[in-house]
Every structure is written in C-alpha cells, then in structure tokens.
C-alpha cells in the first residue's frame, strides 16, 4: 500500500458534513479508467474512531468489480471544491498506487453545499488520476453519479478473520484490532473472529493450530496457543505486521466503540470456553443496547463437541448463536443464523425453510467473483462471509 499521509492540500480542507457524505454515496459510471476499474463502481463511506474515542476519521471507499479493486479516500472541501486523496489497490494481485480526485464546483461541488441536495444521474462527477506504486498519479480516472446504492434487502458483508487474510497482503494482520478498525474501509458490515483460549483461560484471537510464521513474526515459540499463558503471548509474540494478539474483549471493544460494525461472528476453535464467551457476549450486547447501538455478537458453533458444550449453558436458548452444522442442529441449539459452507450451493429450499422458521442464513467463505454474482442473483442468503469484501460490496451495492 503506498504511503499517502502528509498531504498538504488535504490539511487545508474543511470536513464534509453528514449530508455531503450521504449524498456522495452511490453507484457511479466509470467515464475514464474503465480498463483498470470496470464500467461501474460503488462508493460508500465508513468511519473509525481513535483510541481516545473522540476523533473520528471518515473514509470513502470505492469498490470496483475488476480484480477485487478498491480505493480508500479521505477528503474535505476547499471553497466549493471537494478534494480527495488516498490509494487504490487490487486484492488478487500486487497492483496498487496513489489516487487523487476532485469534485469541481460545477461538477456537483456547489450542489453538495445545499441543505438538501437533489442528487441524480450525472449530478456529481469525480475527476482525478491514479498512479502505480509510490509514483505520482499519471493516469486519468473519472466517475459520474448513476444511481443510489442498493439497499432494498438487508445483507451482511462479513470479513473473514476480522476483515481479511494476511496472505492478501493487507496492511494489517488478520485477527488483530488493527484489522477490526480497517475492516469498514473494505466494505464490511460485520466481522468473523477466531477464538482460542490461552493456558490461563483468556479468550484471544488466533486462527491456526500452531504458532507459525504464516501468522506471526519469528518469536522462538513453538506449539499451540493453548500451551502459553496470555502474558507469555503478549511478551513474546507479534502478528505479521507487529500487532499484539488481541483478547476477544479488545476486539469487541474496538468493533463496538470505534467502528460501525454491526455483526460479529465468533468462530470458536475447539479450545473455546463457551460459558466465559457467553458472559462476554452478554456484557457487550447489553452495553451496545444501552448505547442504542445496533450490534450483534453470535457464538459460532462449528463442531459437535462445541455444540454439546453450548447445550450445557443454562441460558443457551437465549444466547444469540450461529450454527455451521446441520439444520437440525441449528434448531436444537436455537441458533438465529444457520451458516452452511458455500460449496453446497444456493440451497434455495433449505434457505427458505430456515427463513420460514425466523432464522437467517449466512454462507462462508466465498471469494470467487462468479459465484458471488450467482449467489446474489439466484440465492437468498442474508450474508456472505468472505476474504474479498470489496468484491462482495461491489456486487451487492450495484444490484438493482
């Protein structure tokens, strides 16, 4: 990802108003740059809050249907011109670069200053340029407003391992607080987190069975997470991009207080302590309710052993949960979400049955563009768990 900070022009701008931000969101026609970004793109805002819980940063993400491409832009106004600076990249390969845009006063800038701007086809035009790597932007790109984002059906775009895999060369590590904070920029409405228990009983986020170089920097520690105490892991282990392994509470705190994330899918590994997890879930969901914040935490059950452990919880029937097993198991545990693997197809009749019972259906982990299109067009899922959320966001928001 190219370095884009310290933009002098951006520091001179004034922040966008909420009306400006919501007016800019939409589906845009690509006027220039089609060969790299396709014929249409979807634009959506997200935010993250600083650790002091007061400073909020807004980011405009532009989702392209070509090679899981996306832009992340920040901006502000300068007189009646809207200035944007940021970067673009494609997740399936190593293409990336700096990007810059403007909405000129006659291209919608003046209109966006109105109290209730009326936005229609071609009323906003982004003009700009993009470059390669750290090089200066030297290729033209332009987008013209086409229509609003698709919002007819509530749909969850869920990020695998807090937002994406380390192998996709994201700037932050999978299953880290940094990834939780980064995930909304990728178009996510929710995240999946992988939970394991340390030797001294602390639920932390980590995917693999072993401490390995895929997920962590060289530390000298070998074996499983479960063989070490939380203090040992904090002292000796750093994730690939240098972050600490977070506790489940740290990840939930970041998601609740510092992002617009509304859905957390807790994927339990076999070592999980579901009684402890249930108490954490209840505490955070009660807090969210008190804040008036839409925020679901679902205890995920992927194995028979964990199902049996879940059924021993005194209040399991009222604990929001998600079941990756059969439909019968989903009913037995009272899960509100059934989560079949995507490789079983659209399963239209099973999905309809679950819907008739008042349950939602989320499929995992789908990254193939053609199938994402097919599942959105022909399936009836309520969400997709993916490593390529910019792609799912593109196909979802550009639906008509």
């Amino acid at each position: 990802m190219p370095e884009t900070s310290n933009d002098v022009l951006l520091s001179e701008t004034r922040r966008f108003t909420p009306t400006m931000r919501s007016s800019i969101e939409g589906v845009y026609r690509v006027l220039e740059g089609n060969d790299v970004f396709g014929d249409i793109v979807a634009m959506k805002w997200s935010y993250s809050v600083a650790e002091n819980l007061t400073d909020t940063t807004f980011a405009l993400s532009v989702f392209s249907g070509r090679d899981v491409g996306y832009f992340v832009l920040q901006g502000g106004t300068l007189d009646s011109v809207f200035i944007f600076r940021g970067y673009w990249r494609k997740m399936v390969n190593t293409e990336t670069g700096i990007a810059q845009f403007a909405i000129g006063s006659k291209n919608g800038g003046r209109r966006l200053f109105q109290v209730t701007p009326v936005i229609g086809k071609d009323s906003i035009v982004f003009t700009g340029s993009f470059g390669s790597g750290q090089g200066l932007p030297d290729r033209q790109v332009a987008f013209a407003y086409e229509r609003p984002l698709y919002k007819a059906k509530r749909f969850e775009i869920l990020g695998h391992r807090c937002g994406g895999r380390t192998s996709d060369m994201l700037p932050v590590s999978e299953n880290s607080v940094a990834m939780v904070l980064f995930s909304p920029q990728l178009g996510l409405t929710g995240i999946e987190v992988d939970v394991r228990i340390t030797k001294d009983g602390v639920p932390i986020l980590y995917h693999d069975n072993q401490i390995n170089l895929r997920e962590t920097q060289k530390s000298g520690l070998v074996g499983t997470i479960e063989e070490y105490t939380y203090a040992q892991l904090q002292a000796f282990v750093r994730l690939i991009h240098g972050e600490r392994i977070p506790t489940l509470q740290e990840a939930l705190h970041a998601a609740l207080y510092r992002t617009p994330t509304r859905f957390v899918y807790v994927d339990n590994k076999n070592s999980s302590n579901l009684a402890l997890e249930r108490s954490i879930q209840k505490a955070y969901m009660d807090t969210a309710a008190a804040l008036g914040r839409e925020f679901e935490i679902l205890i995920g059950i992927p194995t028979e052993d964990l199902l049996n452990q879940f059924l021993t919880l005194p209040d399991y029937a009222s604990a929001p949960s998600l079941c990756e097993l059969s439909m019968d198991d989903t009913r037995k545990m009272g899960a509100i979400v059934w989560a079949p693997r995507w490789t079983e197809g659209t399963q239209l009749s099973n999905v309809a049955t679950m819907h008739a019972e008042g349950r939602r259906v989320v499929t995992w982990t789908l990254d193939v563009a053609g199938y994402v299109q097919e599942y959105l067009a022909q399936g009836d899922f309520d969400g997709i768990l993916t490593n390529y959320s910019p792609m799912v966001a593109f196909y979802h928001y550009t639906r008509q």
């Binding site: 090679d67 399936v92 895929r214 693997r341 490789t343 079983e344 197809g345 659209t346 990254d367």
Partner: protein, 249 residues
C-alpha cells in the same frame, strides 16, 4: 443453471498458431535431421527418436506441495499415481501420454513430441493437451469441476551413457475451467496463461535392466489443477514444487 461464458476462440487459435510454429519451424533450424530412429533406451522424459511403433511406459508417483498462501496451515500432500507412455511415430515424432490418478481428481494428457539429436545432445518440442476432473461431495462440499489445459514444452537432454539428464520448460495454460456448486455452474478462462514450469529429470538404470526416473519440477503458476477444490482466487504466480518418481516398465 446459468454460466458465465467467455469466448475462447481468440486465445485458443493464438495458442495453436504459436504451437504449430514451434513444432514446425524451430527444430529444423536448430538441429536439422538428427540421428536415425530406433527402439532407443527406456527413457520417458529424455528426448530421443523412437522408431514408429516403439513404445516405453513407466509407472510411479508424483507429489506436489501446494503453496502456503492457498493451503495455509493444512500442508496436505496427496501423491498421485503417475502412468506415462511414449509411442514412436514417423519422422522423429512420438506421442507422449500421461495419466495422474488420485481417485477424487484425475488428469490425462496426450500430445505430440518432435525430437532431434546431435550426438549425446538432444532436443524436443512438444505440446500436450490435458483434461482433468474432480469431485468432492463430503463434509459440506457439493462440488465438482473439470478443465482443459495446454502445455507447449521444450526439452534439452544430455546422455551421459548410464545417466540421461533432461531439462524441460513448459508453458502452463488453462483453456477452460468449469466448476459446479450444487446446481450452479460457473465457467471461466480468467487464468488462460497460468504460468511456467521447469523440470530437471534424471533417468538411469536402477536395478539390472530396470530404469528409474527421478525428477524435480518447479511450477510458477496462478492455478494448479490438483488444488481446484480450494478455489484459489490469487492472480499471482505461486510456487508449486513437484517430485516425480517413475519405474520404467
């Protein structure tokens, strides 16, 4: 069912033209006529001219280590049973056929090979066409897939007497990839030019008249058929090392 169909004709025709050019023109320039054909040694990879009707066959195993980018923590390596046969044709040509069997996924390839030799040095040009298929209907999978591949290849060999060494380079290309999830079908040629492979192979007597093939193949590719069920979406050249062991029958 609805499929995303991509027009293959342009790419395939271009590929055919390049293959014909390589097969027809280059060898004549480089090596000329070469030595007379005969039964040859029991060698499968090493370029040697076989008499029409002469045939060698080997059976063995191949094993590929998929890259951690797509397998992550699960370093599963299933060896494939490898059956390889070479059949002599007129004018320095032979027919090269191979079958890789893993039961749930299998691949068969066949292609012409043209050989020229100059003393201990030999050279071949070939073009293999392969069809593979796989199915997986357990543990949350209702998947199957099949595809066509093309591997234009060039080999250089040196015969040391008892040991024949071969260096082979292949272009890896996908002519089609069709997959099914439940009742949905998806067809794609997104990774038509998939990558390149380099092999170094030794063929030598192992026990009495029994010949042994030992090879190492390094593939740098965006797609490898044995990993179809992982549905990798990387558009990057990943490294797939392969070990080849064969006993010439």
């Amino acid at each position: 069912m609805q499929a995303h169909q991509i027009d293959l004709r342009g790419n395939v025709l271009r590929h055919v033209a390049i293959g014909l050019l390589l097969l027809g023109i280059t060898p004549a320039i480089v090596f000329g006529q070469g030595e007379a054909a005969g039964q040859g040694k029991p060698l499968l990879f090493h370029p040697q001219r076989l008499a029409p009707g002469a045939r060698w066959t080997s059976a063995g195993l191949t094993s590929v280590a998929p890259p951690p980018e797509i397998t992550e923590e699960f370093q599963v390596r299933w060896p494939a049973f490898d059956y390889h046969t070479l059949y002599g044709l007129p004018s320095g040509f032979s027919l090269d056929g191979r079958a890789a069997v893993q039961v749930l996924q299998n691949r068969i390839s066949v292609g012409p090979k043209w050989v020229s030799t100059l003393g201990p040095v030999s050279f071949s040009l070939g073009w293999d066409i392969a069809y593979w298929f796989g199915f997986l209907k357990v543990g949350g999978f209702d998947s199957k897939a099949h595809g066509w591949e093309g591997n234009p290849n060039i080999s250089f060999g040196y015969d040391f007497g008892n040991v024949a060494a071969t260096f082979k380079t292949e272009v890896l290309s996908n002519y089609s990839f069709v997959s099914y999830q439940g009742d949905l079908e998806l067809s794609s040629t997104a990774k038509f030019y998939s990558g390149i492979a380099f092999s170094f192979i030794l063929e030598q007597p192992f026990w009495k008249d029994q010949y042994l093939t030992l090879g190492f193949r390094a593939m740098y590719t965006k797609f490898y058929w044995e990993t179809w069920s992982l549905f990798s979406t990387f558009d990057r050249y990943l490294f797939y090392p392969e070990i080849i062991v064969g006993f010439i029958l």
